[in-house]
Amino acid sequence: MKLYCLSGHPTLPCNVLKFKSTTIMLDCGLDTTSVLNFLPLPLVHSPRLSKLPGWVSKDGSINLEKELKECGGRVFVDSQPELCLPERELMDLSTIDVILISNYHCMMALPYITEHSGFTGAVYATEPTLQIGRLLMEELVNHMERVPKAQTATCWKNKEIQRLLPGPLKDVAEVWAWKRCYTIQEVNSALSKVQLVGYSQKVVRVLHQELFGAVQVSPLSSGYSLGSSNWIIQSHYEKVSYMSGSSLLTTHPQPMDQSSLKNSDILILTGLTQMPTANPDGMLGEFCSNLAMTIRAGGNVLVPCYSSGVIYDLLECLYQFIDSANLGSTPFYFISPIANSSLEFSQIFAEWLCHNKQSKVYLPEPPFPHAELIQTNKLKHYPSIHGDFSSEFRQPCVVFTGHPSLRFGDVVHFMELWGRSSLNTIIFTEPDFSYLDALAPYQPLAMKCVYCPIDTRLNFHQVSKLLKEIQPLHVVCPEQYTQPPPAQSHRSDLMLELPAPPLPYRRCSVLSLPFRRRYERIHLLPELAKSLVPSEVKPGVSVATVSGMLQSKDNKHTLMSVPRPPPAAPTKKRKRVAEEPPELLAPKPLLSGAVPLDGFLATLHKHGVSEVKVEETADGHILHLQAEDALIQMEAHATHIVCDNNEPMRTTLRDLVLRFLQKL
């Protein structure tokens, strides 16, 4: 069993598991942190961004004026932003049989895998994952295509040139894995390969019986986002669990199914919180108080966020907070090409929600309170800053919009608009991007900046409790989890500490998983089963000997009767020896039971062996037959008769021993 690690990002994993002749890809996360090295894409012409000076090395030897621009004291790539793909050279992607998706954040690289790679397998995901994932992909494509850039910068990626560039461009790795965003056609094509599954549904048997007969795959609720799942991959005797973004907090999704993860041979653990020191509750409180503080002082609040996920919780929290903070009259705007769909979709996936929200549906009430905010006009959503929004726009206000990297999307416009006033505040809630890097091209900035990353995924404390509970034999995890975060090397509590050290992986690792397959299930054909004669060796346990022929095909093993030799030919013509079926020898009977010492001694005595010296050993007894000069060594699992060259004596003694044993 091998694990190919195509992504080094712990929360945007992309791993491939080879297990029992099947090749399973676990998630295909897309690392978008690469976009931080690019200049923002403004929605309206920005004189500031258009007049940035190009970069030339100090000695003038390298001139990348067209590709790199200096902005806010740093150098950025002036090109269509590129995204860091999972590793595609480590293995042949066309051999992948199936892709399992855990949640909508971990599927963003799907088109890169399924398209133009020869992929012919299937992709499995839950319905909310597919629908919201589709929305997020469409939004990404929309953001990129709204502001097209003619050129693509490639010169700076040249290794010789890159090492001469100023930081952080100098230090970025995997630049050759960076690619432009996919198109909407590719998205549609990739998503057409997705097959929907429900929690705990044993999906694979139905779909790929021939190939996967021996491996069963089922998703479990992971509690992180709508439709998010962990996966169990199991054969009859092996169980591999794959944990991606999971949460134990009582937010909107269905709670995490922990018990099904128990007793795994291997647990692949990814997707822990990126902010182990930031408690989501505290951050939510921080978010609310900073928001209220800014509005009270007459400023605007900008929340760069994804269009699905934590935003539902933020809106719910604000719903309760608005009145207590006297923010009833403040408008809340949600601007995204998919704002409407996201808000509506969340209300219809009732079966994927936590119990509280599910029960609301039967009242009937919308499960999320943002419906009421929309009804009462407190929350308004628009596809873009263009159109209706500009006529409705009222300040001070709160704007939720993407993209959290601040490189594209409507947020770029608000940064240009509000960045110069210290009354305004930008509150970062998404943990995926360093807020300082995100803000870098907007410097100098007067607006206040608050960092409240809300990451509801498991923290180290929760995961160590969980692991104690589910007790996997081996844990495989990103190497980042095996040591404290670099910025907080003193926090030994922020790493995985397990009795058996976990197996760490990094991008491009290929791990041989420490997995010993000891058993295999074999089917007995009915006629063979009928011929068995079981005999009870101890209460509840019967055994029988069986002879048959084993057929292995498609990971399935069947034991069938040995074909009988054809009846003797009526002709007297002698058959060729080679054509005769192999001669079947009756198997020797198997013995079971124990030899009782007293009874055996009595039998020996009856047979004239009277001088027996019994010696007790750790495992049983040694009987020394002094007159016969023989030894009988009786142990729990073996009996040895030692008599020097006296075969008749040995046979007699053997028969006496056999009297006490059962024969099968």
Binding site: S289, H490, S492
Partner: protein, 937 residues
């Protein structure tokens, strides 16, 4: 004693003797005993006054199968009756009653009653009550009850065992002090110190010098032998006896004086040494407690003079008293294992042990866990604890629960270090502050782990609210210590970090605020850079916290802002506290908090605003636009808020404003209500005018409130107005309305009162002394209406307070006796009854008194005195009465006496108790009667 009760007692005794368990409730007998003991304390001889009681006792003890509860009661009652020497003798003469009552070994035990713990405890408590005089002790010895007591000391019932221990201690201590010859004994004792005598001789000598018979010596001998025997090492199963022996010693050592103390010490020092040497962990802390109690001087210092008891000192220094406690304590400190070691250190500091070297060691021990966690080296801890002890302590700190609990013990006791002499202090206070700050940083996950600190222990503490709270408390206590000021900026930075930390629990934030306040209070007055930095940091933190999602945090923040404003130096040249830039910038947040959805926060905001404006009020500054708007907002809260807390706070706001204003403007006339409609005119340019215009509305809204506390606070404001109006009349001294429960001053002599305002009725100063004017002012302001409304309120505290205030008013303006005519000016003052909830009641009272309201149907009635403008009254529909008539007709004295009694005074009276118990007798007498089950909802 109440005659009726005396009459009922014989009947009650009969009922009790037969009824047994079917008493109304299980506390009846206790209440009965309480009543009896109350009577005994008042000097009533119960045996003589109630001969039925000895008869009852006799009936019970001669009953073949008494109820155990009644038997227990009988023991206690007998003890109570025999508590005085004369009664004891009377009972003794009564055919040896006492002997047959307290005869457990024979009768009660044989009959099987002794198995019931309630009987045993009754017996012990009976003996305890009786042992107040030498004959009782003689009786004890003669009956050989000491053995029973000693056996009961290790009774299976913890209550019985504790009670027996208590009696033994009582015998040892109190009996030795009963004799007036103690002083002589002490002198003799001093002279005999140093001589080696046997314990028997000691005890005999003690008894002799006490003037008591050999009884005392016998008892003391028996007890001492028993204690000694219990201390000698035994198997684990008999450990209970040792524990009880030690507990007895703790009590006795705490109270014993010189002669007894010396003998005791001599008797038990050897077994104690042996116990210490054995080192049973179960006994560690008790043993230490015994030693500390025995050898501490402070417990016997004279609390009034603060002087040591020299004889006790001598006893303690007597080499005959066994091995000095110091070496035993040293041995303990060297051999104990954590956590006993830390607890021992805490005990040594808490008990203020006299030995300074031990104290220093104890202080070092307490700092040891702090040092281990933080990795900071403190100079004084080097000598604390052996290497082995440190090692096992470090191991203990790795598990979460002991780590947290030990740290909390250390932090709680670290505050005691502030009272420790500097030479004993293991480290300067500044270092201690640094260690606590470091611990606080560890708890918030901020501090880097020290190379010598334990990483496991460190993990236990991150986010631990308990340790955070204890640390903050310790930090608060250290603020005033010399040397702490050096760490001021560090303290502020950690506290601000805590206030800013999103993960701080509300309770931790609250404590952080309190600590911060304490440290700000010791900040040097001249503005410094620390103050400026703190101001900026605080501003940003507080701005955020007043918007917190958790109401507890918002409440703590608002409360803090109020307290901060109250801290502002009063000698500031500024006009008001809000001139302080720090406080000034917070005021808008407080005003905003008035609209908080949580009532506690609104109430705290109102209080904080009052604290903010206090200085301005004191200085009579003109109200700002903000304050004028605020008054309107507060009146809105008073009239419209659905919760009681903010409304109560509003009344208190105005009370404190009025109180401060009137203190600082003694010469000004009392504010008059200009007009109820223009209550909060924004054109009010001066503080008195704004106040005056609001007070009328506050009074009328407050007295009409549904919350009784709001009404009581309104009456408090009325009291201030009353005081203000009446003080020129010299009546202030008798104002007791603020505390109606206090005994009232005798009413001033009528002529004397009249004389006080019989001066020229002019204007200005003289006008202020015009009772008529003052009274008219009070009526006009609505004070009288508030008082009358309060008087007829259904809530007793409201009515009581109003009654007290009305009496003050009556005494000041309407001279007694009732027949005397008030001055014309006073008599001319009327009030209207119509439209008031209490109008009809007053009218009825007036009718009964023969006074009829002006313009009403009682025209021509006697005593009716028409005053005022008839035309105006006709227009308004009449209903005016003279205030004096009203005050006189209310029969306030009678009302006060009724109101002063608690609402359950009838149910709690002895008579009621006796009747209750007797009622079960009735039930027994009539088997057909069915118990009425009352639904007490």
């Amino acid at each position: 004693m109440d005659g009726e009760c005396v009459k009922l007692l014989p009947q009650l005794c009969k009922v009790l003797a037969v009824s047994g368990k079917s008493l109304p409730d299980d506390t009846s007998l206790e209440k009965l005993l309480d009543w009896f003991s109350g009577l005994t304390n008042l000097g009533t001889g119960l045996v003589e006054a109630c001969p039925c009681l000895p008869a009852f006792i006799s009936t019970v003890i001669h009953n073949a199968s008494p109820d155990p509860t009644i038997l227990s009661f009988t023991f206690k009652l007998t003890g109570l009756l025999a508590a005085t020497e004369s009664s004891f003798k009377l009972l003794q003469e009564n055919s040896l009653l006492l002997g047959s009552v307290f005869d457990p070994p024979h009768r009660w035990q044989e009959a099987g009653f002794w198995d019931d713990p309630c009987v045993r405890i009754g017996w012990v408590q009976g003996i305890r009550a009786m042992l107040q005089h030498p004959p009782a002790l003689h009786f004890l010895v003669e009956s050989d009850f000491t053995k029973v007591l000693l056996r009961l000391q290790t009774d299976t019932s913890l209550f019985v065992a504790a009670a027996a221990n208590d009696v033994l201690a009582h015998i040892l201590v109190t009996q030795s002090q009963l004799s007036g010859k103690c002083v002589d004994m002490e002198r003799e004792e001093k002279s005999s110190i140093g001589k080696t005598v046997t314990m028997d001789a000691d005890v005999q000598r003690l008894a002799l010098t006490l003037g008591s018979s050999s009884d005392y010596a016998t008892v003391v001998m028996a007890i001492l032998e028993h204690v000694k025997a219990s201390l000698v090492s035994k198997e684990n199963k008999e450990r209970h006896q040792t524990l009880q022996g030690l507990r007895l010693l703790i009590v006795v050592f705490g109270q014993a004086r010189a002669p007894l103390l010396g003998i005791l010490l001599k008797a038990v020092s050897e077994p104690l040494e042996a116990l210490v040497a054995e080192g049973h962990s179960q006994l560690h802390l008790l043993l230490l407690d015994v030693l500390l109690t025995a050898y501490s001087c402070s417990s016997h210092d004279n609390p009034t003079t603060g002087q040591h008891n020299p004889t006790r000192d001598q006893v303690l220094n007597d080499p005959d008293s066994g091995q000095p406690a110091d070496s035993l304590i040293s041995h303990m400190l060297d051999t104990y294992k954590p956590p006993e070691l830390i607890h021992a250190g805490a005990a040594l500091l808490r008990r203020d042990h006299r030995d300074l070297s031990h104290k220093a060691k104890a202080a070092g021990l307490l700092l040891l866990p702090l040092e281990m966690i933080t990795g900071l080296t403190l100079p004084g801890t080097q000598s604390a604890g052996s290497a082995e002890q440190r090692c096992s302590l470090a191991e203990l700190m790795n598990s979460k629960t002991p780590c947290i609990s030990l740290l909390c013990v250390c932090l709680t006791h670290a505050t005691l270090l502030t009272c420790t002499p500097p030479d004993v202090l293991p480290c300067p206070i500044g270092s201690l502050v640094t260690v606590i700050l470091s611990l606080l940083r560890i708890c918030s996950g901020q501090a880097p782990i020290s190379p010598i600190g334990s990483s496991k222990a460190y993990r236990n503490l991150i986010g631990c609210g308990k340790v955070q709270r204890c640390s903050l408390e310790a930090l608060t206590a250290l603020a005033v210590s010399p040397g702490a000021a050096e760490r001021m900026s560090e303290v502020f930075s950690v506290l601000i970090e805590y206030l800013d930390n999103p993960d701080s629990e509300p309770t931790v934030l609250h404590k952080s605020y309190q600590t911060l306040l304490k440290w700000i209070s010791v900040l040097p007055v001249p503005s410094s850079s620390i103050r400026d930095t703190l101001g900026q940091d605080l501003l940003s933190v507080v701005r955020k916290r007043v918007c917190d999602v958790r109401w507890e945090v918002r409440d703590s923040t608002v409360e803090f802002l109020g307290d901060l404003a109250a801290l502002s130096p009063s000698n500031d040249s500024a006009q008001c506290a809000s001139e302080n830039p720090l406080v000034c910038s917070f005021t808008p947040h407080l005003v905003e908090a008035l609209q908080d959805p949580e009532s506690y926060v609104r109430a705290s905001a109102i209080k904080a605003l009052a604290q903010t404006f206090t200085l301005g009020w004191q200085q009579g500054a003109a109200p700002s636009q903000q304050q004028t708007a605020l008054v309107k907002q507060l009146l809105d809260i008073l009239s419209g808020d659905t919760e009681g807390f903010p409304r109560r706070a509003v009344i208190r706001y105005f009370s404190s404003w009025f109180s401060l204003w009137s203190q600082n403007a003694p010469g000004l006339p009392p504010p008059r209500s200009s007009s109820s409609s223009s209550s909060s005119s924004s054109s009010s340019s001066s503080s008195p005018l704004l106040l005056t215009s609001s007070v009328g509305s506050v009074l009328s809204l407050g007295s009409a409130d549904l919350d009784w506390e709001v009404k009581v606070h309104t009456l408090e404001l009325a009291r201030l107005l009353l005081h203000r109006a009446l003080s020129p009349l010299g009546a202030s001294a008798s104002l007791s309305g603020s505390d109606a429960a206090s005994p009232r001053q005798p009413a001033p002599h009528p002529y004397a009162v009249t004389g006080q305002w019989a001066g020229p009725g002019g204007q200005g100063e003289a006008g202020d002394a015009d009772p008529g004017g003052a009274l008219a002012g009070l009526v006009e302001q609505g004070v009288l209406a508030v008082l009358l409304s309060g008087l007829f309120d259904c809530d007793r505290p409201v009515a009581l307070k109003a009654c007290g205030l009305l009496m003050d008013l009556r005494d000041a303006v309407c001279p007694t006796p009732a027949g005397a005519a008030p001055s014309a000016a006073v008599a001319a003052v009327t009030c209207k009854l119509q439209g008031c909830s209490w109008g009809k009641e007053v009218e009825a009272l007036l009718e009964r008194a023969g006074v009829v309201a002006n313009g009403s149907k009682g025209e021509g009635s006697k005593g009716c005195d028409w005053t005022g403008d008839e035309e105006e009254e006709e227009e308004e529909g009449g209903g005016s009465v003279r205030v004096c008539d009203v005050l006189r007709s209310l029969d306030l004295d009678e009302r006060l006496s009724v109101l002063s009694q608690s609402s359950d005074h009838v149910q709690n009276s002895p008579l009621s108790l006796l009747q209750d118990i007797l009622s079960i007798g009735d039930r027994h007498a009539d088997p057909n009667s069915q118990e009425v089950i009352v639904d007490c909802y």
